[in-house]
Symmetry: C3
Subunit: 427 residues, 3 copies
């Protein structure tokens, strides 16, 4: 019991602090401070570098809706005079974070279930039925072979297939793009973000944007950086590509919305920044299966209920909206003393510097958020300063002329009795 | 060689520990312990705060499928008597993480390619052909102007456009919502999650849920918190909005599934928590382009193969399912001594406290996962305790009456010969 | 002023280093080193373990497109002879990161708005009109009840509903799957990734892949690990399931693309690794609402403009493409002395080891990226080594026979005058 109290007393009422050798040496002193400064510079550098690179796409909850507008007219021998509006060229009608705009197409009208010759090709051209194996359906064939070899046109014979007839002939893609006017179509992107941790939410249609402005504005990095309406042509150009090129074979464009919010400042400073990028990077040198296209069909039924369809191989641009929710936190001003203390030690307050004192200041508001960086910074920062001492010790104790003298001062050698060595000398 | 051995010997067989001044002072001792306790409280506070906020959306692989159910009936002069079921109001038929339910619409039937007057508007009303520029197609126009000015109705003349005729008139949106009965439709949300690191997977249809229960249950935070079937009306209300309001102009609702799994406990404790939130936050004060709508068309062909379509401007609610995979790790009980040691030092085991000893305990199972937090905690925790000493030193050496006495005890001053100063005095 | 200079001078030109007791004891010395080594092993272990587990799904910007190929033929009494191609079985025609392949279906042709008896079921079978409540529309009913009880067939009477008639009868699902041949369909997955931090981008169609190869190859973990074309059957098998089973009721398959890029090495070493996994884990023991299906309709209009539709309940497999962008960083070789120093201390350079020196080496290139791990490692690493000293102190000062002797050497006791205690003795 008493022992326990003694122990507790010792634990509570004793203060242990390491004994220090104070070496009054310009050389070493300066060296020490320099190393410490270097380390600090390094840490701060890190903090900054890292503060920039960090928590891109932090858990932000974002919702995106995209609305295309624009109408154009085509006049071809095949289709005749035709108007194309949103319901015609946006497929599917709605998606979660992206929108597809058809810019080019290979259309095959009035297909019906039946038998017809394949499109001539390496595997499909034939002399006799022997060349066609019944029932075979290769990955690239448009139907199931019947085994007969029939004439495709006067000169050429190809294997017959059971398929939607006539089969699609997509050997050449229209150049220029069929809906090249899509360059002038526009996208209205609505984006709402929400930071669960802060319960802070905002939309990219800023409070100062009026309905009138929204009706007329077009995004421009210089003049209208906050207008959420984008001209397709401009998007592609901003990404450094030519719209008419991409329109032919299609592609994927990324519309990046960066929310760079410093929650210390007013919410009105939390603004979206738009940037554009082609996501299906194609090195022209190595251009295997470029672009983006898919097939869909419109189904009709005629009088006697028989079904026929119009098959469309749609080339176009898919716009993926990518939202980065970046929350900046105030970088920690790492302060390496002299920290000032006022002490009322009897007489008038006097000012004392103290060495090796190291602390961080965070602004309160963002503090809740800075838990992890703070811990990392303080922990590693303090530990790193230790390196300074280690380095200087190395210099002082191993590299200076007076090293033996210094060692004698720093170290107290204690022999281990148990090893029956001589008594230790102490200073 | 021998030198090398000496060095290695020294390295291996020497133990260096700092020399300590033990100050038996109630004041300072208590101060020291207090500061240490504060720091610990702080760290633990952090750990907990941070443990809550951390690794929301940790790399969880999740798959979501949504299935809507419900049927309703409308009876309007335009459409007559009509039944609406899933295939009618879910567009598109399937999406990856979201589902769109049409609640309101502006329908334009029997559109054909042709020429017709524009809907009257600021830019479209005209007196003479001079007011209409041929070939122009503004962002908001429904077709390409022919340049003629034709009568829209008896009183009014508007520019003629080549378009899908008749052009859509969406000037007023039906109030109340056309499919207001959608309030009673239901969503069955199936969600499977998988943590790659743990190869732990689970689905939100819990093992104790029977087919019978699933046929009848409706989610309710109180009574049926684990029923994965949600009434649309309830979802919107839970988010604090009125379904009939949102149904008119549409919107985006978020269905959040939080998996809060402590993998130390049985998998049966790993349960989904549902919460709802309107993602397209609209401040009523500033209500520019609210809601969510898009256009799609159903295409038909009549006898002579001519195509006509029904254009639908669909207003509705998109439900985005957002999955948070949160893995709780057992918070580290930071223990600040007295840590107890039993030492068999010849006589009976005795108990010794030791100061400044600081450690963490983690449960083994989750340990694999807690690498990073553990390192952060230990590293920063140990470093932070150093601050206590620094602070107390400041007090003791600069602010206490006996500071000079204490300094004399702590410091040993060593002059640098090279600076030709006097010999140092040592105590 | 002068005071200030003194203070500054003291701060700059003084070097303070702790005084050390050097205990020449094999036992303790070895113990100390061992503990330090253990800690280091532990840390390194962590670093490696953690390096593996970390930054899976680091903020990589990825775009995915999927293209299905394949055609098959069915011959049923209901539909007769029919060909199915991409436009028929991919619904919707395009999605952002996934593709749905219909493998099975329940088709209901020529539905029109009207009145018809419900499918017999627990709630729908009736004797008299009294059993049917007019206007009721349960979650699972296919229409709105009229309140009449009509004969479903000779023997059975069910409630009449206003609905798309005839109502769908999905009581039994076709076995084997209607489009079982889908096993041989193929998916071409195109994936582009981009690391914003490094501005490094790559696509999964590697530079050495030629158009000819792409036309013929099929992914195989052994023979063709980099061919981006996947046979559906193989995907499902690789995930350890049977395609024909999953084809009947549908399901969700995950195609995981792991980019394991060490940016220190040439970009050509940055390669995609494919793995497959069934995401809708179904424990056969507890098989509630398995599989994946949804309904969609094709709308037709007959002569007099009346609308009819073909309702399809589509069962099938949704393939979600999941991209993990993992960037490996060179693991830090933690080196614990002897670190070598050359010092020109007048005479020939001599070699000194130094204890307790601890550093990391990072390759420059990835350094920018390793900020956070580096800070964590150094900070915690240094701090952890402190633990060694603490432990050994405990042993030396509390558990060794000569503990009092060692304590006397390590500690210097100072009484607090203010507590009126005796003078302190010092050695």
């Amino acid at each position: 019991m008493t022992g326990c109290c003694t122990v507790l007393g010792a634990f509570l009422f004793e203060y242990d602090t390491p004994r220090i050798v104070l070496i009054r040496s310009r050389k070493v002193g300066l060296m020490n401070r320099t190393v410490q400064l270097l380390i600090l510079a390094y840490v701060i550098g890190w903090v900054f570098v890292w503060e920039k690179g960090y928590q891109e796409t932090d858990s932000v909850v974002s919702s995106v809706t995209v609305k295309a507008k624009g109408v154009t007219m085509t006049n071809t021998s095949k289709l005749g005079f035709r108007i194309w509006d949103v319901a015609d060229y946006v497929i599917p009608a709605q998606e979660e974070n992206s929108v597809f705009i058809m810019t080019n197409m290979v259309i095959t009208m009035n297909q019906t279930q039946g038998l017809c010759p394949e499109i001539p090709g390496k595997t499909t051209v034939c002399e006799t039925d022997a060349n066609c194996t019944a029932g075979s359906a290769g990955t690239h064939s448009s139907g199931v072979a019947t085994g007969r070899c029939v004439s495709f046109n006067g000169t050429l014979k190809t294997c017959e297939v059971a398929a939607w007839c006539p089969v699609e002939d997509d050997t050449e893609v229209p150049k220029p793009a069929f809906l090249k006017a899509a360059e002038n179509f526009t996208l209205l992107v609505k984006n709402n973000i929400w930071y669960p941790k802060f319960n802070f939410s905002k939309r990219n249609i800023l409070p100062n944007i009026t309905t009138a402005y929204l009706k007329t504005c077009i995004y421009d990095a210089k003049t209208d950086p906050f207008c959420p309406i984008f001209r397709l042509g401009k998007i592609v150009e901003s990404a450094g590509h030519s719209f008419q090129d991409i329109a032919i074979e299609g592609g994927i464009m990324g519309i990046q919305i960066k929310w760079n919010c410093n929650l210390d400042r007013a919410a009105s400073f939390c603004l979206p920044r738009y940037s554009f990028r082609r996501l299906d990077t194609r090195d022209l040198a190595h251009n295997v299966s470029p672009g983006y296209n898919f097939r869909f069909a419109k189904y009709y039924s005629d009088l006697n209920g028989a079904e026929h369809r119009t098959l469309i191989k749609a080339y176009g641009i898919r716009f993926d909206i990518i939202v980065f929710g970046k929350v900046a936190w105030p970088p920690a001003p790492l302060v390496q003393s002299p920290v000032v203390f006022f002490c009322w030690s009897g007489q008038r307050p006097t000012l004392y510097p103290h060495h090796n004192f190291f602390f961080f200041s965070y602004r309160s508001q963002a503090g809740k958020f800075d838990i992890i960086p703070t811990m990392i910074n303080i922990g590693s920062g303090l530990a790193l300063l230790g390196v300074a001492t280690v380095l200087c010790d190395v210099i002082v104790l191993y590299c200076m002329k007076k090293r033996y003298y210094y060692r004698e001062k720093k170290y107290k050698y204690v022999e281990d009795y148990e090893q029956g060595l001589g008594n230790q000398m102490d200073q």
